[in-house]
């Protein structure tokens, strides 16, 4: 019998499984009918960091071939958490796959009590316009003593523990360039 290497592996694999099942010596039928294939068996694995707090636990994200997220769980090789997670980290999956997730920017007009969905482009333009207006109106070059300060106290920025190092660097760059001095972190409020 001529076998290719691939065929040989396939054949020996199934024979091994059958032998293992026989060795157990009891009826596996009901159990087999219950057992399902591990859903993450063929999934693509990539690592990520939990965005919730500053501990920075590592996670493995399992993806389907289509790119759809299948599961998330702790990364045993990560030095911070070694596979463990708290309740928030363990629930990370539903941050992505969640019907309640907001998918577009929402806008509430002054004195209105309703949120309306708007386009990203409109939202960004609206924000940029207001930042420019407020910044120009409140920018001070010199303080009362005549010292050069080049700052605005009309805008504040609140960051979050979910920001990574690189994002923080970019935000600091932009906010300092605008002249902001109130640059805070959500966890200190």
């Amino acid at each position: 019998m001529a076998l290719t290497r691939r065929e040989f592996l396939k054949w020996s694999g199934s024979a091994g499984a059958a032998a293992a099942a026989l060795c157990l010596g009891f009826d596996l039928k009901p159990v087999q009918s219950y057992a399902s294939e591990l859903k993450i068996l063929k999934a693509k694995e990539s690592t990520t960091i939990c965005p919730y707090c500053a501990v920075g636990c590592g996670l493995i994200a399992h993806q389907k071939k289509s790119g759809k997220l299948l599961n998330t769980e702790g990364d045993p090789d990560h030095p911070i958490n070694e596979g463990s997670l708290c309740a928030k980290g363990a629930a990370l999956f539903q941050m992505t796959v969640n019907k309640a997730r907001i998918r577009t920017p929402l806008y509430r007009a002054p004195e209105s009590d309703e949120w309306e969905e708007i386009e990203w482009e409109d939202a960004l333009e609206m924000i940029a316009e207001r930042v420019k207006k407020t910044r120009d109106a409140t920018f001070t070059q010199k303080n009362d003593k005549g010292q050069v300060v080049n700052r605005t106290t009309g805008i504040a920025h609140v960051g979050s523990a979910a920001l990574d190092n690189e994002e923080c660097w970019v935000l600091q760059g932009i906010m300092r360039a605008l002249g902001l001095v109130f640059i805070e972190h959500q966890a200190r409020i």
């Binding site: 157990l24 009891f26 596996l28 009901p30 159990v31 009918s33 219950y34 057992a35 399902s36 294939e37 591990l38 859903k39 068996l41 599961n71 998330t72 769980e73 702790g74 045993p76 958490n81 596979g83 463990s84 997670l85 708290c86 309740a87 928030k88 980290g89 363990a90 629930a91 999956f93 539903q94």
Partner: protein, 217 residues
Amino acid sequence: MAGKYFFVDTTRCTACRGCQIACKNWNKQRASKTTQYGSYQNPSDLDGNTFRLVRFMEHPSKQNSMVWYFFTEACRHCLKPACQKKADQIKKGAIVVNDFGAVLFTKETKELEKAFKAIKQACPWSIPTWNKKDRQIVKCHMCHDRVAAGLPTSCSKACPTGALNFGEEAAIKKLANERLAAAKKKFGGKGEILDLDDVRVLYLIIDEQSKYRPVAI
């Protein structure tokens, strides 16, 4: 029969509920609608969407103003499951025990709706619950799909403090004895391991059993 065992060191549990949510995450269970009833424990009991629950128990204490015990509860995977015995009277094979000792409720428990109450009462800890959506009896299945593939259970993998452990019988019993000795040293001779010879989930506690869950047997 050797097999897989859990060991829960309640003295190490901080009630972060990582295990509870990791369980829900693996089984992709929805949140249960609950109401505030005066405890941090949520939901108030195991249900069709919750196979593992961290119980919060408060008691007045002589030494301290109060003690607060945490108890992560799920199916104990008994060596001789009473639920299986009960179910076998009606439909053989609806509840099965697999090769590493996990007690599994198959899809055939769909046909046991009328017997559900009897099966729940047969369990010393009333663990089995009725899932309204799938219309079958459900409970912890020891992540049989993960364990068969060589992975740890979802809950024990998530535990950050080493309170919830999972592994081979010999290793887990060794760990349990070590932790028992450590607990006795730390808590003035108090400490016991529950149901050592009957179940696959070993709990180390340092106070009366009834202080850890509402109806302890």
